[in-house]
């Protein structure tokens, strides 16, 4: 009980600290999503506390993912007219991007002879964690491993995104948002907000759409490519 409460406070405390650090020095390697888990992992290894006992308290935070995902209905509602106005480019690009994400992850992973469990855990990696974990479970992956891949994708996307945008000369704010939201879910979306609030909004919409599309097409695509 005390340990549970301690892990909860430790996680929140380190997160606030990491957030403050990132605010004063916004470098990608200082992203709270990278530094906080690393510090906690180091702490658990050092004190020999098992992940299971850590998670008895920390799972309360994971449980908040569900209501937080539902909260996306609010920006979706508020910016619905922007979505309607740019419906074609958003729908077409997010749909193809999501399919490309699934197919390319599958073929690259298979091509490198990763084992089936890892391949299946990699497939839904580009969408937001709760959905990715759900999809992973349906297709035979390991949800916890998928969660790690999702976070790696987010970090990678936040680093590579601006470079790709510059190299390909993507100057349209809608296109920037779609690119970041489809490829790197929430992490991409927070990067998109650094470009402009339109890019950020479009990015969060793309992220929700990508999640819905991935949820619907993955089992079907998998059956097709076996």
């Amino acid at each position: 009980m005390i340990l549970a409460l301690f892990s909860l406070i430790l996680t929140i405390g380190l997160y606030w600290g990491a957030k403050w650090c990132y605010k004063t020095k916004p470098k990608v390697y200082l992203s709270p999503l990278l530094t906080t888990p690393l510090l906690i992992v180091a702490f658990l290894l050092w004190t020999h506390i098992s992940y299971e006992s850590y998670n008895t308290g920390a799972q309360w935070l994971s449980n908040m993912l569900q209501p937080a995902t539902i909260a996306f209905a609010v920006p979706l509602y508020k910016y619905f007219n922007i979505l309607k106005k740019h419906a074609t480019e958003i729908l077409v690009s997010v749909l193809s991007g999501s399919v490309v994400a699934i197919v390319s992850s599958l073929f690259l992973a298979r091509g490198l002879h990763l084992n089936t469990q890892i391949v299946d855990s990699l497939i839904p990696r580009s969408v937001t964690t709760p959905i990715a974990m759900g999809v992973s479970e349906t297709i035979g992956g390991v949800p916890a491993i998928t969660a790690v891949f999702v976070i790696m994708t987010g970090l990678m996307g936040a680093v590579i995104g601006p470079i790709v945008i510059r190299l390909l000369r993507i100057e349209n704010e809608i296109a920037r948002g779609v690119l970041l939201g489809t490829s790197a879910h929430g992490a991409g979306t927070s990067k998109a907000f650094e470009f402009s609030s339109i890019a950020g909004t479009i990015s969060s919409l793309s992220m929700i759409l990508a999640a819905l599309i991935t949820l619907c097409v993955t089992p079907w695509l998998m059956a097709l490519m076996l």
Partner: protein, 123 residues
């Protein structure tokens, strides 16, 4: 103080709603996660003006602002799969990086193209 109470209340409301949605998909054996059903239901309720934006706006804003915090325990879960990452880490990073670049190029160029064409049409 009033704002804090209001935000907290709204977060609790969203939590309760999320539990109801989970129960709902479980009982009906639906394949979609409760959270996605929740997004759709809340969106429809807002559109049809059955619920007002002010009832959940603040709570939703707070939850979304701290979204990263809720991912941290799952990220710490990596500790259980150390051997998998030690054995396959390089290949996994390669797949993720290359696939992410492909997805970005595809979505970005496509959206850019369609947006440009739209602008040409309207001008």
């Amino acid at each position: 103080m009033v704002t804090i109470m209001k935000g907290m209340g709204q977060i609790i409301l969203l939590c309760v709603f999320s539990l109801i949605m989970n129960k709902f998909v479980e009982v009906l054996h639906w394949k979609i996660p409760g959270s996605i059903l929740g997004i759709i239901v809340i969106f429809v309720l807002l559109q049809t003006k059955i619920i007002r934006l002010e009832w959940i706006e603040l709570g939703a804003k707070w939850l979304l602002a701290e979204l990263l915090l809720f991912f941290i325990p799952s990220a710490v879960g990596i500790i259980k799969y150390q051997h998998i990452l030690v054995d396959n880490g390089v290949r996994v990073v390669f797949v993720i990086t290359l696939s992410t670049i492909i997805v970005m190029a595809c979505t970005g160029l496509l959206a850019n193209k369609i947006a440009e064409r739209k602008e040409q049409k309207s001008s």
